[in-house]
């Protein structure tokens, strides 16, 4: 389902859905003074970690820095958006109005998973904002793009950083992001969620 990006291989343990329930009860020792995260409501991210009131919650600044440093997405891209957490480490990007906290089913789109060693953007986020990225974008030829979208892992050359990459291809004369992949050991793993995979 939409926020249930099931993945394969080594990454699966990072993102299994059961993890949310466990983390929700988890209080980081260092953050012992802070409240624990509540999973059934949306809380707006604090502007900076100095303003943080909930254990382990990332700040807006950290999210913008992550997208900027990893993918070269300029922070201004998100000037009109707010970021929210629901469930431990599930970050949502939202353009509308809402008070914090608020109890709704969703606000905008799930964009990032934090509270795991390597933060992981979602495929839907990458398709929506990935055209602003200048780094960690792997351009796939038509055949590789089709395999990626079908959910296949493939051996590919890449001389940049390992880890999560935006996979893209050229479509009708423009670079178009496909989704999120994990590059390790000369292999690009497709992390396109099952419900989004297609044979094209």
């Amino acid at each position: 389902m939409a926020d249930d990006e099931r993945v394969t291989g080594a990454d699966a343990a990072d993102t299994a859905d059961t993890e949310d329930a466990e983390n929700a009860a988890d209080t980081d020792a260092i953050d012992g003074e802070l409240a624990t995260n509540e999973g059934e409501r949306f809380d707006r991210l604090p502007a900076t970690s100095a303003e943080r009131t909930v254990a382990g919650r990332v700040s807006r600044k950290e999210v913008l820095e992550y997208y900027d440093e990893r993918f070269g997405i300029p922070p201004e891209t998100f000037a009109d958006y707010t970021f929210w957490e629901k469930g431990a480490g599930k970050i949502w990007v939202y353009a509308g109005e809402a008070p914090s906290p608020t109890a709704v089913e969703s606000l905008g789109m799930l964009c990032l998973r934090t509270r795991q060693e390597h933060w992981k953007p979602t495929t839907d986020f990458v398709q929506r904002f990935g055209q602003h990225a200048t780094e960690c974008v792997i351009d796939l030829d038509p055949d590789a793009a089709a395999r990626f979208v079908a959910g296949e892992d493939q051996e590919l050359d890449w001389d940049g950083d390992w880890g999560y990459l935006i996979a893209a291809h050229e479509m009708a004369g423009e670079r178009e992001p496909l989704g999120i992949g994990l590059y390790v050991y000369d292999e690009l793993r497709s992390l396109i969620p099952k419900g989004r995979r297609r044979d094209l």
Binding site: A2, A95, M109, R128, R198
Partner: protein
């Protein structure tokens, strides 16, 4: 087609209507302008050799020459969304503007809610509500695939909806695309009439009235409410609007519609409705080779 016999007196060229209902419907998609212009969506379909025809009444509606509009690059990228041509109409009639607060009272699976988000340039707040949690997960899937970031999703009965999760207490506009007897979807679901009964029509009309009343109450004075169904039954269309006109502060207002259509009824089955219901639109399958639909536009007056 038995339940349709009662419409013989109100439909011009009734035989053409019946014949159209027998024909299956092609695949239409709406271009999702959050992610692509119609030109870019069409260029993508060209690259993958999927034929299409652009609707003459709206450049964002494409009739595809494929039976699986969900298995294209255009769909994978979220440039297009499978949506029946007539289903595109209600959000256009509601005509929301960027920055506004819009309520979609019965939103799942989200075709019109995501269209509303696109119409406000994904800037503002579209509250997409549905009382069916299972259908909401389809809505969320569609919203994320289409990149709609202005959508807030809630799971409540629209008849006694509370704006408590938000810090505003009324909407600028509301779309009321209610559950209905679905007669107008016969070309897509040939068994749409299997469960048809007058009792069902009457009981669902009660729910529709409750939802429309709440939408009028939750919309600011001067705001707009659009009521729509995919059915022909006057008991679910003009009769519902007529009842709400009598009980809430609102009036029916005219709107432009480029597709061929009939005016709303002002009398049916020995009942008469407010004359303003002639400003509503009835769309029959034989008129534009589409599904069937009913749309009324209301302005909130108090």
């Amino acid at each position: 087609m038995e339940p349709f016999e009662r419409y013989r007196p109100i439909i011009d060229d009734f035989e053409a209507f019946l014949a159209a209902c027998e024909r299956s419907l092609g695949s239409a998609v709406r271009v999702n302008t959050i992610k692509a212009t119609p030109e870019r969506a069409m260029a993508t379909l060209d690259v993958e050799s999927v034929g299409y025809e652009q609707a003459d009444w709206d450049p964002r509606v494409l009739r595809l020459e494929t039976d699986s509009p969900g298995s294209t690059w255009a769909s994978f990228h979220g440039f297009t969304h499978g949506q029946e041509e007539v289903s595109v109409i209600p959000p256009l009639v509601l005509d929301p503007e960027p920055g506004e607060r819009v309520w979609d009272a019965c939103a799942a699976p989200g075709s019109k809610a995501t269209q509303l988000a696109a119409l406000i340039d994904d800037r503002g707040t579209v509250v997409a509500n549905d009382n069916n949690l299972g259908r909401l997960s389809a809505l969320r899937f569609n919203a994320e695939r289409l990149g709609a970031t202005s959508l807030a999703v809630t799971n409540d009965d629209a008849r006694n909806y509370s704006l408590q999760p938000f810090d505003f207490d009324e909407f600028d506009r509301a779309l009321v695309d209610v559950p209905c007897s679905c007669e107008g979807t016969i070309r897509k679901n040939p068994d749409a009439l299997d469960e048809w009964s007058m009792g069902h029509v009457r009981s669902i009309a009660g729910i529709q009235t409750g939802i429309l009343r709440r939408a009028v109450q939750a919309t600011r004075t001067g705001g707009t409410v659009v009521y729509s169904t995919c059915t022909f039954a006057p008991e679910e269309n003009e009769a519902v609007v007529d009842r709400v006109l009598a009980r809430e502060d609102c009036e029916v207002v005219p709107f432009d519609l480029a597709l061929e259509h009939d005016p709303g009824l002002t009398e049916w089955d020995e009942e008469t409705y407010d004359p303003s219901l002639a400003e509503a639109a009835r769309i029959y399958p034989h008129q534009n080779d589409t599904g069937g639909f009913f749309v009324a536009k209301l302005e909130v007056t108090g």
